[in-house]
């Protein structure tokens, strides 16, 4: 395309890259929101079946139009701001919860780099060499949404919910980070694409690097459930004690933004766990012929789906923890185990050449 509109080839490459990234971002954001909508339906159906009932099956065939009905209902509900609340913080807080949840997915590599019709194609928006740091940093920003929502509502329940959310998320970030560090040490990289690639190349996802990889994986998943404020760690919205926790004073579309943020965060944590411990598109080889590479994203999405089912399954089974027990689980059990696990993994990686895991074979 040399000379088109007086622009040289390099400029056109940049413009094309920007347009591609924008399209990918659009597809990812809308895909996440669609996944959120149908995740709510799936959750209600699976919860129903686990309680020997049907779940929603009235709107459309098998209740498939239920999320649309819910969406219309939420969009048209009255949006109430309490008189004593701080209007601007109250309005911005749900956005601060939702936007970080949506942009984390930019660094998730859904599939191997491949060529479609001879053109290079990537299944991520950005491949940055601090991918994991980006994801955790953005996820931490999301907590501000909950805290500010609790604070700005000027309500005791909301404030307590926000406090609990911040205390819980900060506590479990430590164990989660240390568990993820195990995978990062094994990969020797923070680049999420590189981490997946190493696992695929070694033929074994890090969760199967026994025993340390499995321990780290289990800790990561437990901490991930706590991070996303999901049952049985949903202290921030313990409805029996706090009304609805940090979003007690929210209604209508602002409330549904918190709702979206929770579910999109679940998807993000599932995706990160898949990247770090389940080897992304493993067992599809990165350098396979084109159409087999195309199966990579499907494998990835199946793994995310398995995590999402686990989230629902846990919610259907376990009662909510008491807050002090939640804290002692995080600080006195998960954190020490993750720390020792990281130390031992580092020792093994330091003593053996990188990429060879002595206990794997």
């Amino acid at each position: 395309m040399d000379g088109l509109f007086g622009l040289d080839g390099a400029t056109w490459d940049i413009i094309l890259a920007v347009i591609t990234a924008l399209i990918k971002a659009f597809v990812i954001v809308n895909g996440l929101l669609l996944a959120f909508a149908y995740m709510t339906l799936t959750e209600r159906k699976v919860l129903g079946r686990m309680q020997a009932r049907f779940g929603p099956n009235r709107v459309g065939p098998f209740g498939l139009l239920q999320p649309i009905a819910d969406g219309i209902k939420l969009a048209f509900k009255e949006d109430i701001t309490p008189r004593q609340a701080n209007f601007w913080v109250h309005t911005v807080a749900p956005m601060m919860a939702l936007i970080p949840a949506l942009i984390i997915f930019a660094v998730i590599p859904l599939g191997p780099e491949m060529r479609i019709l001879g053109q290079p194609w990537t299944w991520y928006v950005a491949k940055i060499n601090v991918g994991y740091l980006y994801a955790t940093a953005i996820a931490s920003v999301g907590v501000y949404g909950l805290v500010l929502a609790g604070w700005a509502s000027n309500s005791k329940y909301a404030l307590l919910g926000g406090l609990r959310a911040s205390a819980q998320v900060i506590s479990y970030e430590l164990a989660q980070g240390l568990a993820a560090m195990t995978a990062l040490v094994l990969a020797g990289s923070l680049n999420l694409y590189e981490i997946v690639n190493q696992q695929v190349a070694s033929g074994l996802p890090y969760a199967l690097y026994l025993p340390f990889g499995l321990v780290a994986f289990v800790i990561y998943v437990i901490a991930g459930v706590a991070e996303s404020n999901r049952s049985p760690f949903d202290m921030a919205e313990a409805e029996g004690e706090l009304g609805a926790g940090f979003h007690t004073e929210y209604s209508g579309f602002k409330w549904s933004m918190f709702f979206m943020a929770e579910y999109v965060n679940m998807i993000n944590i599932s995706a990160l766990a898949t990247v770090l411990f389940l080897g992304g598109w493993w067992p599809i080889p990165t350098d396979a012929p084109g159409f087999i590479q195309g199966l990579g994203p499907i494998v990835f999405l199946i793994k995310i789906g398995a995590f999402m089912f686990m989230f629902i399954w846990l919610r259907a089974t376990f009662p909510r923890l008491r807050f002090d027990r939640l804290m002692s689980l995080g600080w006195k059990v998960l954190l020490p185990i993750a720390l020792v696990n990281l130390l031992l993994t580092s020792a093994v990686v330091a003593l053996w050449p990188l990429g060879v895991w002595p206990f794997a074979q």
Partner: protein
């Protein structure tokens, strides 16, 4: 549900075996919910699927007839007396011998049940000496107005039998 005896587990010997027991208990809990997921839901999808009504269900009132079409009710008002919520009003009258309504000397000229007041206790049925009043299995009684909830004798009376009434006063 069958009665399940719950045995409390013995106290753990040490911290590790306690942790193992805890994790095992969690796994068993997960197994229970997963097992339920593959069971058939117990939900009765009501408007399409009809519930099974027990034989002695106490639903809508009905005033019964004899086989010859004469009413069983003799207008004795014992049901109205037995009713704890005063939902029943009966006005008896002399039974005309040339055109009998019931088999007794008297019959119910007016018979009104206020279904808003009725608590479906069934005392009226127990009080009835002629087994004229029955509570049937019909349970879909909701309506839009208060007036429509006051059931008159025409509403309550069982439909007349198909065959012609015999000339005998006594039930055939």
């Amino acid at each position: 549900m069958a009665f399940v005896e719950v045995k409390s587990p013995p106290p753990p010997a040490n911290a590790l075996s306690g942790a193992v027991a805890d994790v095992t208990a969690l796994a068993r809990g997960l197994g229970v919910t997963l097992g339920y997921m593959f069971q058939k839901p117990v939900t009765i999808q009501y408007p399409e699927e009809r519930p099974r009504i027990s034989a002695r269900h106490r639903g809508r009132h009905e005033l019964e007839r004899h086989d010859n079409g004469l009413e069983k009710c003799v207008g004795c008002e014992l049901c109205a007396l037995a009713c704890p919520s005063k939902a029943i009003f009966v006005e008896g009258a002399e039974n005309p011998p040339d055109a009998p309504v019931s088999i007794g000397e008297r019959y119910a000229k007016t018979y009104i049940v206020n279904m808003i007041r009725c608590i479906f206790c069934g005392f009226c049925v127990e009080a009835c000496p002629t087994e004229a009043l029955q509570l049937k299995k019909v349970f879909e009684l909701a309506d839009y107005t208060r007036e429509s909830m006051i059931y008159s004798k025409e509403t309550l009376l069982a439909p007349a039998p198909k065959r012609e009434a015999t000339d005998s006063w006594m039930p055939g």
